[in-house]
Symmetry: C2
Subunit: 259 residues, 2 copies
């Protein structure tokens, strides 16, 4: 199921405008590194986004762990996203019924739909969740990533679950751009595979998070975008570390394109 | 699997202090009605909590759909919870890895663990999610509800999924007090069954939410607490409607206790 096509070649297969844009961006900027910016203060988040922005294709946020959130923060994040050409992916993991996720995505304090090009959702509640998010995001030209396979130990996403997730994605292929997954799910090369739990040195944390290396993720499992968090942020020099991950991720991709 | 024991009888079987307290509260206050207060403004939420507080055992919130949230809101909600003797249940549906949910539960703008006695979580990410939430909530004497079965059409919680959820609950029975479920899962009478999607008139909405009646929920499926939202809030006189639901829910419970 691993494609040998370039991101640019796959871009034209994509039904989502945002998906096409992202695939093209990967080749243009020559990075498939997404940074998981799990910090708890606004200033720190902006500092990371500005310093590491040039190295990444996506900044992944958890806006609801920021203790001093203000609308200024998301305005400034958008400015940095334009400056460094990365997309913002709010890792909200929506998991409620359609009527509720519409309000959580479009409203509240965060107005996620207004500043994050990408969000993700679990298909667990059934197709109404995708429909609810699409009702808000489609008209804003946003994209949705479905969670197919997590990186945490003992997750309950079995084969039937993953097949159902793929089916819900196929029913909304103009809005769903791909999957949070450990493996490519389909031969359709327009799906973008986002793989969390990636570290240069594999291992695990004390709460069940498991890590694989970029080579395994990209060349063996078909990851398109590697999501790295603690591997970069806990390094003494995070910029140098991000550059290491970027270089490694890109080499693995170029190798995969060789037919 | 439906118990005929009273809430008070079951209270002594419970390993969680908060679970014991809630079961006792139900009999003391003679209500098994939880109100799903899905409104988007702070003032409206407080108004509902104050007006309907005397009728309910639990106020269920979605704090992240409130567009004008401030810490004052949760302070005032706590005051109303003490005044009217109800618990607050933030329907957050945590669905991430342990390391992330710890931050989402204890920190951010909302500090959920500081004002909500109850939160819920999906077991989908594996046991690390329960462990992560417990690390924050246990020392604050909070309780966790696991989502076993949703009320939305086409949900992916199959038999194996529900069995896994029950097992994770059993491993943390001092902290997990019960389930969001459409049916009682176990013969162990200490689990509290919270059932959403309840309306005096059954039916569905346009985004896949499905409704059952209080009789079916309580007497046929073993619900202990019925969660009602739009059925009450969309009525012309919500207080009168809440009283109707409270009366109906209580009659069904008394009927179930007759051996």
């Amino acid at each position: 199921m691993i494609t040998h096509l370039s991101y640019t070649e796959r871009s034209s297969l994509c039904l989502s405008t945002l998906g096409r844009h992202l695939l093209q961006l990967l080749d243009d900027k020559q990075t498939n590194l997404a940074l998981s910016a799990d910090v708890t203060h606004a200033e720190k988040l902006l500092e990371i986004a500005d310093n590491l922005g040039p190295e990444i294709c996506i900044l992944k946020t958890h806006i609801d762990i920021i203790s001093d959130f203000s609308p200024e923060l998301t305005k400034n994040l958008r400015k940095l996203a334009e400056k460094h050409r990365f997309l913002i992916f709010e890792d909200r993991k929506f998991a409620d019924i359609g009527n509720t996720v519409k309000l959580q995505y479009g409203g509240g304090m965060y107005h996620i739909a207004d500043w994050a090009e990408l969000v993700n959702a679990h298909c667990l509640p059934g197709p109404g969740i995708v429909k609810g998010i699409a009702e808000v995001g489609r008209k804003k030209n946003r994209g949705l990533i479905l969670l197919a396979e997590m990186s945490s130990a003992g997750h309950l996403m079995d084969e039937a679950y993953v097949a159902n997730t793929l089916q819900m994605a196929e029913s909304h292929a103009d809005f769903v751009i791909g999957f949070i997954t450990q493996h490519a799910l389909s031969d359709d090369a327009h799906w973008i595979n986002f793989t969390p739990g990636v570290k240069l040195n594999a291992g695990s944390d004390s709460l069940g998070q498991q890590y694989i290396t970029p080579e395994i993720a990209i060349n063996k499992h078909g990851a398109d975008i590697i999501i790295v968090g603690r591997g970069i942020l806990e390094a003494p020099d995070s910029l140098a570390e991000a550059q290491k991950y970027r270089k490694k991720g890109w080499e693995c991709y170029l190798k995969r394109c060789q037919r």
